[in-house]
Amino acid sequence: MRRLKPAMANILLTNRCVRSCPYCFAGRQMAEAEADTHLSWENAVYLADFLEKTGERRLSLLGGEPSLHPEFVAITAYFAARGFNVTVFTSGIMSSAKLGELAASVALLPRERVQFVCNINNPEQTPESAGETERLHAFLKAMGPWTQAGFNIYRTDYDIGFLFDLVERYWMRRRLRLGIAHPIPGAGNLSIAVDDIGKVIARLEVWRDRFESARLKPSFDCGFALCKIGDEQLGWLTRLAGRMEFKCSPAVDITPDMQVYCCFPLAGLARKSVFDFDSYRQLVNHYRDLQHRLRAEIPGIFPECGDCPHHAEGTCSAGGACQIAGRLVRENPGRLSDIERTFSEPRLPA
């Protein structure tokens, strides 16, 4: 049997955020959590030990907006000092004092030790918070070479043209993380319906020349489907960016109070505590098992996923587990609760 590499752990430093994006898929988790809870130093040390024990050397710091943690810079530097390669997911919106402290600390580290994914909204399509653009530009001016852009797609007429200018102007890393905004059952967030995934991918063609001239390599976050991309388009994307991924695996989000769940969109499902697990590998396998149970009910987001060779061969995950859970809720209300209940019951050891 193929041994699966554990997914990178996402550690939430805080539940607070500076923005209120209409597509936010973390909004429900943050609304239900205590706003002023921050990851403590004791728990940061515990998590570093916990991940190190499994041999994991990568982690992500996120929020909310992680820089709202009062010790954001010190905690980032701590994980780097422990030898982890740290990716910080940020809006870039932070005070000039904190930005100065961050820039001074990161400059002392090897380039690969800390990097940033700056999730940027198109200011013409998404309402901005006060002073957002100025602070974003200040962040990119200081941290551009350590930063790759991220863009969350929540409408089919999305526009990423402005990102190419930012990448050039601020010497940003030549990678663009593209994410699909997933619907959270009951949350009312703006999102992309599974039937629109093809349109979303096809629209990338609009900026093909700019991608190629800027050598900006797009990568797909979870939820993209291989069958919704044509061979010609897959060809130029692969030639530019290397192998494209159509995967969904547990992102494993760890909250500031050490709760854990499969990923933001599935935050309401089978939530546990980090302290329930002996190792990070055991924790990831637990949520992988949850995903397998969901996929045993519905193989994928489209009816044809069950017979798809790409799904059978593991080239495509057949959509995100959250999208499958959403379909389960619509088609068989109550079944998700059954799965969660049986999943929580103690089982015989393997």
Partner: protein, 127 residues
């Protein structure tokens, strides 16, 4: 048997050939105290007390080769402490923190970075 004594040259001269733990109340005295002790005795450690938090204590490269217990009242800002950690590891310094809950996190952080740490039970009721 090891003896603990203050950094008092006249006293050290009379303890000729003994193994000494010498006490100083200012980290700037660590190097002179080690030199004075080693001139006639065997130095086990220097027990140094700092009035300032660890982050603000001047820790010097010339402590190399001297085993030091550095007692500080607190860690201070963690970012500054993290910057000190590589130097502390290179030197033979054990950081001694008071046994107060507010300092436990700093003790854990330092220990997890490979810096020797002790927690002093000073002020605890002696049964």
């Amino acid at each position: 048997m090891n003896l603990v004594c203050p950094h008092e040259p006249s006293l050290l001269m009379r303890l000729d050939g003994r193994t000494i733990l010498v006490r100083v109340d200012d980290p700037r005295d660590i190097v002179p105290a080690a030199g004075d002790t080693r001139s006639r005795n065997k130095l086990a450690r220097v027990l140094a007390r700092s009035e300032a938090p660890l982050a603000e204590t001047a820790i010097a490269e010339n402590w190399r080769g001297i085993a030091v217990d550095l007692a500080v009242p607190s860690c201070g800002p963690m970012l500054a402490v993290l910057k000190l950690a590589p130097l502390l590891r290179r030197l033979e310094v054990r950081v001694v923190l008071p046994a107060e809950p507010a300092e436990f996190a700093g003790a854990k952080v330092l220990a997890s970075l490979g810096v020797p740490v002790a927690v002093a039970l000073t002020g605890v009721r002696d049964w």
